[in-house]
């Protein structure tokens, strides 16, 4: 009994309250303004849903969401000039707004804008990609009536903003508890968004349930890891964990078991194999704009968080755990490249491609050098735009029953729409990593960072897997250009302004980062994490 620790007056938390002197935490509102704008706009969006009549909601929500993303971007840009190079820690040290965080915020905001444009589009699918009343049972009379109607759930806009705000906090979270809360804020809206497709509603709902159950499971892993690390270090702050790991003779079991469980949670969100099993099903079932949002933004957030945890908390012990993440990276690349070959559905194929890309990203993330950090962040930027535009293009190829995602339906598409086939070819070449596209530059910087850090065998495997993955991208290109179109094949919808803008944005950035990557590389390499 004598060993039990009771809170006493010497305990700071108790004495502060007793003295009536609670400290107001230091808050740098200017630094976190982009996040506040996004989350505040999401709250206003909820009020719009509550008080605006249904016909006016779409317009107001789109205006609010786009304005919020632009305003957050302006706030970020205005802060960038005055931001200290070593970053600031604010909100009692729970947020660390440093150069990588600002870079990832910028990436998330622009990718989020592209995704919101896709979500808002009502020209490709009349009435929008989203169901009007999710509560109506699929396949009933009312369901057929609403499928033909012009309404959609406009709640998707605040939900997307909440998810985006969570992602931004996730990238900047400097302690594990904040990180966990941010993880839930980004995940819960995504689960909902996945289940709101207008067409193939059962598939969409199935994907939402799968994502929710597996996501909750992964969150539990994350929490368990958090608890073990707290047991080890007596603190959830990343810097304290690093300090505890540095100079003690404590048992490492808690530390590495904690890191392992934490990593499972993070790798799950980044859809890194072998924690990728949700990815193909969810990417296929979710409404295509949401798939684009997840593929681009969730990946940025997950790897942003992983980079910070590994660099800030576990750099000193990297030689202990790196071998495991080597294996994970190899497994992810092999799964993505080999299973991608066997896919017959375009959305599933890009999903497996994203698993392979997650493996490449992980190579950069475990390099733990400046080069590795900037390379991985550049890769995230480049990959995000390419995959966003690729999913936007997938949404355009349709039959009367919705999207035509089966590969056989894409045969001879170049004869029907040379422009669409050309754009998709360019994007696939970027995913494959052909020069003059951002995919090539991204792979180049990540692999050279890994080489410089002595991971040559891993780079060789990555190159082989890139070649294997290139095969299935090229197969689609061959299919589009050198096959005869089927008589009752799908038609290519002429996109409205929003979708056209999103595709143009993605293609232009893919090209720009391919031929002139210097400015983005400079920005990505402008500073490390605040330690």
């Amino acid at each position: 009994m004598s060993t039990m620790v009771l809170p006493t007056a010497a305990d700071p938390a108790v004495s502060v309250l007793a003295a009536g002197l609670a400290q107001v935490p230091q808050m740098d509102y200017r630094a976190v303004l982009p996040v506040l704008v996004v989350l505040g706009a999401a709250c206003v969006g909820v009020l719009f849903e509550a008080f605006l009549p249904r016909p006016r909601r779409w317009l107001w929500q789109v205006a609010l969401t786009v304005a919020a993303l632009l305003a957050a971007g302006v706030a970020l840009y205005a802060y960038l000039g005055d931001a200290p190079a070593q970053g600031v820690k604010t909100f009692a040290g729970t947020l660390s707004i440093d150069r990588p965080a600002l870079f990832l915020w910028g990436t998330l905001l622009v990718l989020g804008l592209g995704a919101v444009l896709l979500i808002a589009d009502r020209s490709v699918e009349p009435g929008g990609y989203f169901v009007a009343q999710a509560a109506i049972r699929p396949g009933t009379q009312q369901d057929r009536a609403q499928a033909a109607g012009a309404n959609m759930h406009t709640e998707v806009f605040p939900l997307a903003l909440f998810a985006l705000g969570g992602m931004m906090v996730f990238c900047a979270a400097n302690d594990l508890l904040t990180m966990f809360v941010a993880l839930e804020v980004l995940s819960l809206p995504l689960y909902l968004l996945c289940g709101l497709a207008r067409r193939r509603r059962l598939l969409s709902q199935e994907s939402a349930v799968k994502y929710f159950l597996l996501g909750a499971f992964a969150s539990a892993f994350f929490l368990y890891g958090l608890a073990l690390l707290y047991g080890y270090a007596g603190s959830v702050k990343l810097a304290d964990i690093a300090a505890a790991a540095g100079g003690t003779n404590r048992s490492d079991t808690l530390l590495f078991a904690g890191l392992g469980l934490l990593a499972v949670g993070l790798l799950f969100k980044g859809s890194v194999g072998p924690f990728h099993t949700w990815t193909p099903d969810v990417y296929q079932g979710a409404p295509t704009p949401v798939t684009a949002f997840m593929a681009a933004c969730t990946k940025v957030a997950a790897f942003g968080g992983l980079l910070r945890v590994l660099t800030v908390a576990f750099k000193a012990t990297s030689w202990e755990w790196r071998g495991v993440l080597w294996a994970v990276a190899i497994i992810s690349m092999v799964i993505g490249a080999v299973l991608g070959l066997t896919q017959r559905d375009v959305k599933r194929m890009i999903a497996y491609s994203s698993v392979a890309h997650a493996g490449f990203l992980l190579i950069g993330a475990i390099a733990l050098t400046e080069q590795g950090l900037s390379g991985t962040m550049f890769y995230l930027l480049a990959y995000g735009f390419t995959t966003l535009a690729a999913f936007a293009v997938v949404g355009l190829v349709r039959t009367g029953e919705g999207e035509a995602t089966h590969l056989s339906q894409w045969a001879g598409l170049a004869k029907r729409s040379p422009l669409l086939a050309g754009v998709f070819t360019f994007l696939l070449l970027s995913l494959a990593g052909i020069p003059l596209t951002s995919g090539f530059v991204g792979k180049f910087v990540v692999f050279s960072a890994a080489l410089a850090d002595g991971m040559a065998p891993l780079v060789v495997i990555a190159l082989v897997m890139s070649a294997v993955a290139a095969f299935f991208y090229l197969r689609v290109i061959v299919l589009m250009y050198f096959s005869e179109p089927a008589a009752d094949g799908p038609t290519v919808t002429v996109p409205g302004v929003f979708t056209a803008a999103a595709i143009t944005l993605g293609v232009l950035v893919t090209l720009l980062l391919g031929v002139w990557p210097a400015f983005a590389l400079d920005w990505a390499g402008s500073g490390g994490f605040a330690l």
């Binding site: 009994m1 009536g20 609670a22 709250c43 909820v46 009020l47 509550a50 008080f51």
Partner: protein, 121 residues
């Protein structure tokens, strides 16, 4: 080090003994009044089985919605209690923070109210 777990172990033993004691002693000292409710799975609430024939054997979804809303606003109260106790110490900053918190939950409340989440049918 392991000694610090002794109180927890004792608590487990105590809990097990208490449960065993309660179950064993209840039939001897308790009154026996049998009625239909005693034989149900729950003495209040709806029967989980056999499922109601009306509505294809499914529960009205309104139960689920109400339960969710209850949790939401219940948690709000959970946060208000510790604030109220230490409102002095937290000062103006704490007051602003809790006002923001209530406002955020208020948005959710406005949404639920306006969209008919509080109507039973």
């Amino acid at each position: 080090m392991l000694q610090s777990y002794v109180p927890i172990l004792l608590l487990f033993v105590l809990a097990a003994l208490f449960a065993l004691f309660s179950v064993t002693i209840a039939p001897y000292v308790g009154p026996r009044r049998y009625n239909k409710a005693k034989l149900d799975a729950y003495e209040c609430g709806i029967e989980p089985s056999p499922q109601p024939v009306v509505g294809g054997g499914r529960m009205p979804v309104a139960y689920y919605l109400t339960a969710m809303l209850f949790i939401l606003f219940d948690i709000e109260m959970v946060f208000l209690y510790p604030f109220a106790v230490s409102a002095d110490a937290l000062g103006l900053f704490g007051l602003v923070e809790i006002a923001l918190f209530i406002a955020t939950v208020g948005f959710a409340y406005a949404y639920v109210w306006r969209r008919g989440g509080l109507d039973w049918n």
